[in-house]
Point group: C2
Chain length 323, copies 2
């Protein structure tokens, strides 16, 4: 069976701040990887060139000749035109109508497959992580914003305009806080890291004693610092985190009543830092707020692959087209 | 082609107050029908016997010999055990673990197929009504409560515990009004006919001038009366109906961001009475509160089959098993 030895793909996770590329075999084993800064501010072509260099460096790190690479899978911020493999627009990267697949294919001379970063992350968790063996899966990814993904019958749901799975923008209170999307009371406006920070800063401004900003009065509060403050029972941080988890729980309750999935995966930076502390509270709120039958034997679980869900899912995407 | 002439099924719509049975051919033509009261209070076996009599009377009305009936499809209130064709429990009918398929099959000596009433109604709209030709469809049915259905890739979504599509119980405000399901701020608690009535009665109790209750101080307010009062610009009725349509719009915005369906069908008694007056307002709120790309070229439309969606969908269910 020389085939397993000779066949590889490269999975690329394109983020707002970094590019992560990994050489992956048919079984989901990572043989080598490389990270680079995205530098989106230098323009689309610079970033694509950096992606190409990152992919080649990953192959070198893995000791795999370039000829053994069958194709490239990419998880990208969206919304995307999937058929063209094109970024329509994305606030994180400030590009519009960026022909990602075409340009990357030109540089790397391999087939390139692109999907939404959260879809790809969920595909990774579905194939190798927390949702293995399930048929219907919902995924939430809690970071600066909140993204999502949906798998029905083992397949990613893309929808009519290929824009399904925007789970950060289910409305949890039409009179709620303003959301970055322009509407009010979306899940993201209650539960993202940005929302958590806003709640913490508002509490501190209102006089709540807190040590979380010490030495970091400006700039984002890092996840590890959030965890430390939460564990230290910080009076500004604990309610802000709990509120995030509870609103995620309300949204999850909705997903259970809507999809009745077998597994709900909760991932992203906030969850990687806080883990079960966060997911347990979200789960408790979810189960309390949906039909009993909709949560029966349903797993609501932290993502398992951490940072690797994106590259692994991107590899699954590539393999699904290549076989 | 004698086959089209000889082959029929019976679709049965089992409701809280009435049973509606119709003989239907392979093309969705209704050849004869019959209605009876459900009389659920007399017990499960009485109602099943009434369903059987109703089915046979429909065949007689259609002039179709019983031998030409291939099978029976039933839309029933749920939650259901689909594999058993059993009603697990249902507030409307006050039965528990009622073996609907088994008992009806015993009486009628034909194959019987059972699914949730809203799923079956949506299947009717998908096959013969407002959602023809679409692949991904979401349906809301606004009545005493609010039910829903989801079609993905041309197939009803049932989910892990066969309980998907409970769209009346997405949470639109965790601090909102109490819902019949035991939680707070579900769509149903804002937008069902029951919620509309509650809002109207509260406004009248608070002194808002209104003619809607005249001659009907107790008991439910009929849909036609709601329409008349709405058209007459009744000060208690207009805001109550508008609020219902707007909250349905928020829930629809969520569905657009989640599923990005091609069609959203809005049916049920309230919509049959108010039609575009109601759906236009829901659509406007929905489109304003979701991503632009999620509503692009998406139809948000009243159901087209009115009372017949259930029997037609039940026929589609039966045919799908019989072919």
């Amino acid at each position: 069976m020389g085939k397993d030895k000779k066949d590889f793909v490269i999975g690329i996770d394109l983020g707002g701040t970094k590019i992560y590329a990994a050489v992956i075999d048919r079984k989901g084993k990572i043989l080598g990887s490389e990270r680079k800064k995205t530098k989106a501010e230098l323009g689309f072509h610079t970033t694509v060139a950096r992606m190409a260099v990152c992919a080649q460096a990953a192959a070198t790190a893995a000791g795999i000749p370039w000829e053994a690479i069958r194709g490239i899978g990419v998880g990208s911020p969206g919304p995307l035109d999937l058929k063209q493999g094109m970024i329509i627009e994305t606030p994180n990267l400030a590009w519009r109508e960026a022909p990602l697949r075409k340009e990357l294919k030109k540089l790397l001379k391999k087939p390139v497959y692109v999907d939404n970063d959260c879809n790809v992350g969920l595909l990774g968790e579905y194939t190798y992580g927390a949702a293995q063996g399930a048929r219907d899966v919902v995924g939430f990814f809690i970071g600066t914003g909140i993204g999502g993904g949906i798998i029905i019958g083992g397949k990613l749901l893309h929808g009519f305009n290929e824009n399904a799975g925007e789970l950060g923008h289910v409305i949890l209170d039409p009179q709620g806080p303003a959301c970055g999307c322009g509407n009010k009371g979306c899940l993201e406006a209650f539960a993202s890291r940005t929302a958590i920070e806003r709640t913490i800063r508002a509490a501190i401004d209102a006089g709540t004693p807190s040590a979380v900003l010490e030495g970091a009065e400006t700039g984002p509060i890092r996840s590890r610092r959030l965890l430390e403050a939460y564990m230290a029972n910080d009076a500004a941080v604990v309610p802000a985190i709990n509120r995030s988890a509870e609103y995620l729980g309300y949204a999850t309750a909705g997903m259970l009543n809507i999809f009745n999935p077998e597994v709900v995966v909760i991932g992203g930076g906030v969850v990687e830092a806080l883990g079960d502390l966060y997911v347990d509270r979200a789960r408790e709120t979810a189960v309390k707020n949906c039909f009993k039958i909709a949560s029966r034997n349903v797993r609501i679980t932290p993502a398992a692959l951490k940072d690797d869900s994106g590259v692994l899912g991107a590899a699954v995407l590539a393999w699904s087209h290549l076989r």
